[in-house]
């Protein structure tokens, strides 16, 4: 690697000489430090990642892993993007404001007066990675693909949009979505903005369709070039590396870095070491302790945000003893050492949780008080109220996320003082998923994130039978009433609706069945030679806006 860096240096110096000789128009401005300027004018990045993606197609994929999310975010783009704001040098998603991506930048969509028809105006002269022009039919076909068997499904909006017939292609660059009785709580826009909203090149994909596979899912899981995103995959060596090439026709402008080489370095400590020594430009998926260790390194910058959206979710399953008793659940939430976990396991790379409703949702005046704090006396008192002094608990965790395992161990160590004998049940990811599907766990701790930061979307984490949540939650009449009245009160971020959302937050916290115990900071580290660190809905790095410093 040292050799390579040297070679890189030689190339850079060569480039500097060329620059000086040809005398670019801008050369005068950057005269003072032409050497460092040209040295950072590199167009390729090396990134250390934990693993490679298993699929390039969200629709065909069975596993929504972080690696897959990362890749989909580089190769695909949808009608809309979230607007962003700069926060401590980090480009942070503003979840409540949209701008056009494939849709027109300034006038991406119009909503009918009754709020039931969304009409999107597409940009003209946009071509896909394969070179085919973008049309409204691409949009219609893409959504139909998502709704088909084996498609990702748009379950979040299925109450008011679940049928391809609800789309209407008005002309080549205009498409309308007709919703059924959508209320204030509709999340069509964020669903079309995030991972689920990507638009595909119909012409290119249909070239690879077969009678058995009319949507070309099989081909698309292993190939790119059928999207509109900033990068395509130019080569992949299984288990070792993947090379991305910039899409020169990218609708938002060709990325500054034309080549991204992602090298697999499975060990988090080694990834951290590489970025701090300059061996790579970006390291992804770092353990919190490793982030803390290299934080002071002169070559490293790390994004920190006010309101992270990735969290650790503690579920105490309502229909399994001893957690069928609300008082016992509350006692347990009082026996969790929140501050200790943030300090010891996360080395400060996490913030306290006030519940499901976060600051990013922009609900005015929402309380930021932590949902629970570690209070042994209170926990003991609650347990006594439930007629117990000692309770055995089995806390199930997936063993592939070390910080979750460590948090569970720490909970066990501290909950002992309140009378809980916690056994940490570490399971392989497959075994853990099976246990959730079969609803066999008594309590579980899992890493999760809310990609759609809308108050009404919280309901999605309390669907009965959903294996990705505790799954045994049964919405009561009170619960339904609370959500209905919040939606009726006004638009989601309005002053009028805010007190109702606060009520729901308090209700969930008091119910103590499933609450985020903390929110995690971004887990990437960047070289100081880069600007535009990102924090997005899917917590992936946006390589398309990353630029050399100065």
């Amino acid at each position: 690697m040292r050799k390579i860096t040297k070679a890189g240096g030689v190339v850079a110096i060569g480039a500097a000489i060329v620059l000086a000789v040809t005398g670019c128009t801008s050369a005068g401005n950057s005269n003072s430090n032409s050497n460092s300027n040209s040295a950072t004018k590199k167009t390729s990045l090396t990134v250390a990642v934990a693993a490679l993606p298993t699929s390039f197609d969200l629709d065909g994929a069975f596993g929504a892993s972080n690696e897959n999310y990362t890749m989909w975010s580089q190769t695909q783009i949808g009608l809309l993007n979230y607007k962003t704001k700069l926060e401590n040098g980090v480009v942070v998603t503003d979840f409540t404001h949209f701008e056009g991506a494939l849709a027109d930048k300034d006038n991406p969509y119009t909503v009918s007066d009754d709020g039931q028809t969304y009409t999107f105006h597409l940009r003209k002269d946009v071509v896909s990675q394969a070179g085919n022009p973008l049309t409204a039919e691409d949009v219609r076909w893409s959504i139909e693909r998502k709704l088909s068997d084996g498609g990702v499904g748009l379950t979040q909006v299925k109450a008011y949009f679940n049928n391809p017939d609800q789309m209407e292609v008005i002309d080549d660059h205009t498409i309308a979505f007709h919703l059924h009785n959508a209320g204030n709580d509709n999340v069509l826009l964020p669903v079309l903005t995030g991972q689920t909203g990507r638009i595909y090149d119909k012409v290119e994909l249909l070239k690879h369709a077969t009678p058995d596979d009319p949507w070309a899912v099989k081909w698309a899981t292993q190939n790119t070039g059928w999207g509109f995103g900033p990068y395509t995959v130019s080569s992949m060596t299984q288990g070792q590396q993947i090379v991305l090439k910039a899409n020169p026709k990218y609708v938002l402008g060709e990325p500054a870095f034309r080549t991204i080489t992602m090298k697999v370095v499975p060990d988090s400590g080694t990834r951290a070491q590489l970025v701090s020594s300059g061996g790579v430009d970006v390291a992804e998926a770092l353990a919190p302790a490793d982030l803390a260790t290299i934080a002071k390194s002169p070559k490293v910058q790390e994004p920190k945000v006010k309101n992270p959206i990735e969290f650790i979710d503690l579920s105490l399953v309502q229909n399994k003893a001893p957690f069928d008793d609300k008082t016992v659940r509350q006692a347990f939430f009082n026996a969790v050492p929140y501050k200790e976990i943030i300090d010891k396991v996360y080395s400060g790379f996490a913030v306290e949780s006030s519940g499901w409703f976060t600051g990013t949702m922009n609900v005015p005046g929402l309380s930021t008080k932590p949902a629970y704090t570690y209070d042994v006396d209170k926990a003991k008192k609650l347990l006594a109220q439930a007629g117990k002094s000692s309770v055995d608990v089995t806390l199930s965790v997936p063993n592939n996320v070390p910080d979750v395992v460590d948090a569970a161990i720490l909970i066990g160590s501290f909950a002992k003082k309140a009378g809980f004998n916690v056994t940490v049940n570490q399971l392989s990811p497959a075994d853990f998923a099976t246990g959730r599907l079969n609803h066999s766990f008594q309590s579980l701790l899992v890493a999760n994130r809310v990609q759609i930061q809308y108050p009404s979307f919280v309901n999605n984490f309390f669907l009965p039978g959903d294996p990705s949540n505790s799954g045994d939650f049964q919405p009561t009449a009170e619960w339904n009433e609370l959500f209905a009245s919040a939606a009726a009160a006004g638009p989601q971020t309005s002053k009028e609706a805010a007190p109702y959302w606060q009520k729901i937050n308090d209700f969930i916290n008091d119910d103590a069945s499933q609450i985020p115990i903390l929110y995690k900071q971004p887990n990437q580290a960047y070289s100081k030679d880069l600007v535009n660190m990102t924090y997005r809905y899917d917590s992936t790095v946006d390589y398309s806006i990353l630029k050399p410093a100065r």
Binding site: F62, T237, G239, P266, S428, A430, D431, R436
Partner: protein, 351 residues
């Protein structure tokens, strides 16, 4: 004429029979593997639906199961599996939809290359130290060799590798970062990285790869030499006592011949251990490969265990076992060649 062929067959039966039996063994094992992996805890369908943010109904589960080709009775699945096996088709991975055969053979050669280099290095080191052990009477030297051999299996190979990385990359910065075999995309002809680089004449890449191999190969040599050495020293100690050796010495045979004979008789258990390590490393090299960003067949195994990817796991096990069986066959053949007394059926043949 006929009798000569039969005689030849008789004389060579010990290895011909083993070779003929190999496909049968593979088939039997593949069938065992088919059932074994279905005993694993975890359901691939659960893994598939885990990331879906929606209520999962029994219908959804059934639909995904059918989509994955895991519906129907286990016997139907077995018949399907056998059918594929004979056509050399092991199905598609549930995770990546890539044919399992492609998944396996794109990773196997690079693993084989690495462990062959590591183990052959250890074997050579073992022979050298064994020679030092019998050749020189210096008790300190012999003691040192013995002491080193007592380190067998005390330290896992990945611990040695990490120490090497810390020392030579982090502290001394003599060797490059553990970021795979080379900076660019490796050429693929046979799948064996070094061989491919030679074939395509990518000399600068070959240099990088060789440098990148220094630490992992050194880690394997340091770790596995004691294991081979314990067996060799044990064998040498025993054979030195034997009347054969004493007779050779007494008869004034050339020293070189005595050494060759001594090693020939002491090597079989070393070769068995070599075979054992070779077998276990095909799947087990994953720790060292992942430390150096190499990728390899073991990674596929770990991934398919974690996601209970049945077809990929089947393919992985079948290939690993096939390579192991071949390795063990080679071990037995070498041992029988070194020492004809070990050949089964030699009694009847000599009768």
């Amino acid at each position: 004429m006929r009798t000569t062929i039969r005689d030849r067959y008789r004389a060579n039966r010990w290895w011909i029979l083993r070779l003929v039996r190999l496909p049968v063994d593979i088939f039997v094992f593949a069938t065992i593997a088919f059932f074994l992996i279905r005993l694993l805890p975890g359901d691939p369908v659960a893994v598939a639906v885990a990331s879906r943010n929606e209520a999962v109904t029994p219908e959804t589960v059934a639909a995904v199961r059918a989509q994955m080709g895991l519906d129907g009775s286990i016997w139907e699945q077995l018949l399907h599996f056998w059918g594929g096996l004979f056509r050399g088709n092991l199905g598609d991975s549930l995770q990546t939809s890539i044919p399992v055969v492609t998944e396996v053979f794109s990773r196997l050669p690079s693993t084989l290359e690495l462990i062959l280099l590591g183990l052959l290095g250890a074997f050579v080191a073992c022979l050298v130290l064994g020679f030092v052990y019998v050749r020189f009477a210096n008790p300190l030297l012999r003691r040192a060799v013995r002491f080193y051999s007592s380190f067998a299996t005390t330290v896992p190979v990945f611990v040695v590798a990490i120490f090497l990385i810390v020392l030579f990359y982090v502290v001394l910065a003599w060797l490059p970062a553990p970021l795979g075999r080379a900076a660019g995309t490796l050429p693929v002809v046979t799948g064996f990285p070094i061989l491919d680089e030679i074939i395509t004449g990518s000399w600068s890449m070959l240099g990088e790869t060789l440098v990148a191999y220094i630490m992992p190969v050194a880690a394997m040599v340091i770790t596995y030499t004691p294991n081979l050495l314990t067996q060799l020293i044990g064998g040498l100690d025993r054979e030195l006592e034997q009347t054969t050796t004493r007779f050779q010495v007494a008869a004034g045979a050339p020293r070189r011949w005595i050494f060759v004979s001594l090693f020939r008789r002491s090597l079989p258990s070393v070769i068995v251990v070599f075979g054992l390590f070779f077998g276990s490393l095909i799947g087990g090299a994953v720790t060292i490969e992942s430390l150096f960003g190499f990728g390899g067949i073991g990674q596929l195994g770990v991934r398919s265990v974690q996601t209970v990817d049945f077809p990929a796991l089947q393919g992985f096990l079948i290939i690993v076992v096939t390579v192991c069986l071949i390795a063990m066959l080679v071990v037995d053949l070498i041992n029988m060649a070194l020492d004809p007394r070990r050949r089964p059926g030699i009694e009847e043949a000599s009768r």
